[in-house]
């Protein structure tokens, strides 16, 4: 039985609603290896990875656990939610990004799939974001470091974080003056990208407006991908 006929027969059985809710999964134009259907907005021309692309491969230390974390470690194991940030972010964008990862972590804990999830928050300000600073930040932002699925990623140097973000994520990071902000020597104008990648290492969603994207959409997309 082909898929379309299968759908029709289910619809006839009176479960239209449930099946329609799964259309994203069935969508025939879905990219190879994805769980979700294509996003409403086609981001394939963007500089950053987007739907259907491979999650970039890189290895960066987690300064809190002392491990080297590679994105490929999670293939076949965990669904990834990734973002980049820095703790001195003066405008609240970074806490908003972290809040979206934190909520996905919270929902994973409540629904019992913590061990199928990895939350990767990469700082591009390794000079200021030391292990202690990141641990304190996790406490402030309600991140659960004990869940074993959250990794702060801290490149060895500012230059290597610049290179990593430019090369793999199409994000150009430059230190900028922060004269207008008290107690801040420099800041990084940046935009808030969140990436969701499945266990096969394929990007399911790119949220370029990650600081404002609807939190429940991220939670639900993440859950669907984990369960896919």
């Amino acid at each position: 039985m082909d898929r379309r006929r299968y759908l029709q027969s289910i619809a006839a059985a009176g479960t239209t609603a449930s099946v329609a809710g799964c259309l994203g999964v069935l969508n025939e134009s879905g990219a190879e290896g994805t769980v979700l259907g294509p996003p409403e907005q086609d981001l394939s021309e963007a500089a950053h990875p987007s739907y259907g692309d491979e999650m970039p491969e890189f290895t960066v230390p987690d300064p809190i656990t002392g491990e080297d974390i590679s994105t490929t470690d999670f293939e076949g194991e965990r669904t990834i939610l990734w973002t980049s940030f820095y703790t001195n972010c003066p405008d609240g964008v970074c806490p908003a990004l972290i809040l979206r990862l934190r909520r996905a972590q919270e929902v994973a804990a409540q629904e019992g799939y913590s061990d199928d999830a990895a939350f990767l928050a990469l700082t591009f300000d390794p000079e200021r974001d030391t292990a202690d600073v990141l641990r304190k930040y996790a406490d402030q932002q309600g991140v659960d470091l004990d869940a074993g699925n959250w990794h702060f990623l801290r490149p060895e140097s500012y230059e290597s974080s610049q290179e990593l973000l430019d090369e793999h994520f199409g994000l150009v990071i430059e230190k900028a003056s922060a004269d207008d902000i008290e107690n801040l020597e420099y800041q990084f104008p940046h935009y808030g990208l969140i990436l969701l990648a499945n266990k096969r290492g394929i990007v399911e969603r790119a949220y370029p407006n990650g600081a404002t994207v609807d939190i429940e959409i991220v939670e639900n997309d993440f859950k669907k991908v984990v369960e896919g």
């Binding site: 289910i10 059985a13 479960t15 609603a17 994203g24 609240g92 919270e106 402030q140 609807d214 939190i215």
Partner: protein, 182 residues
Amino acid sequence: MKRRDLLAGLASVGAIGGAGLVATGTIPDAFSNGSETPEPVESTTLDTVEAPGSRDGEVTIPPDNQATFVDFFGTWCAPCVEQMPALGEAENRIGDEVRFVSVTTEDVGGSVSEERVVEWWRENDGDWLVAADVTAELAAKLNVGAYPTAVTLDSTGRIQWSESGIHTADEIVAGIETALNV
């Protein structure tokens, strides 16, 4: 998802088909992001903090049949300190007409102590209800962007105004009036 898994999933849906004619409301929801008429926000009950103007107990947001103003803050957040005087003024002017509450998304009682919140509240002259959204569940439902974020909901629990950043007392009062005049 593998096709076989998918078919198995659908088959089990089919089995409960009769009973499960299901919340059909999920069809449009699944395909539209942000429709024109907002749905009422599902209510969340939070613990409140014993602090000046506040008391130890619970608050449900949104409450039944009452408009609400929520200020999302964190004790780590410098702009939230700056926001406090305008909040105080707005609360004086219009606080009696709404459920007026500040909510921290910190893990109060976990990674951040309740004493820390009380201390911050005193230092910044808070004098109204303050609550802890320890799992950020309310923040998720109200889609907090940055801190501080101000949200007003009307008496049916629908969001009427939501904006991050520091606001003047006039802006806050206007945001609340939007929710009262629905």
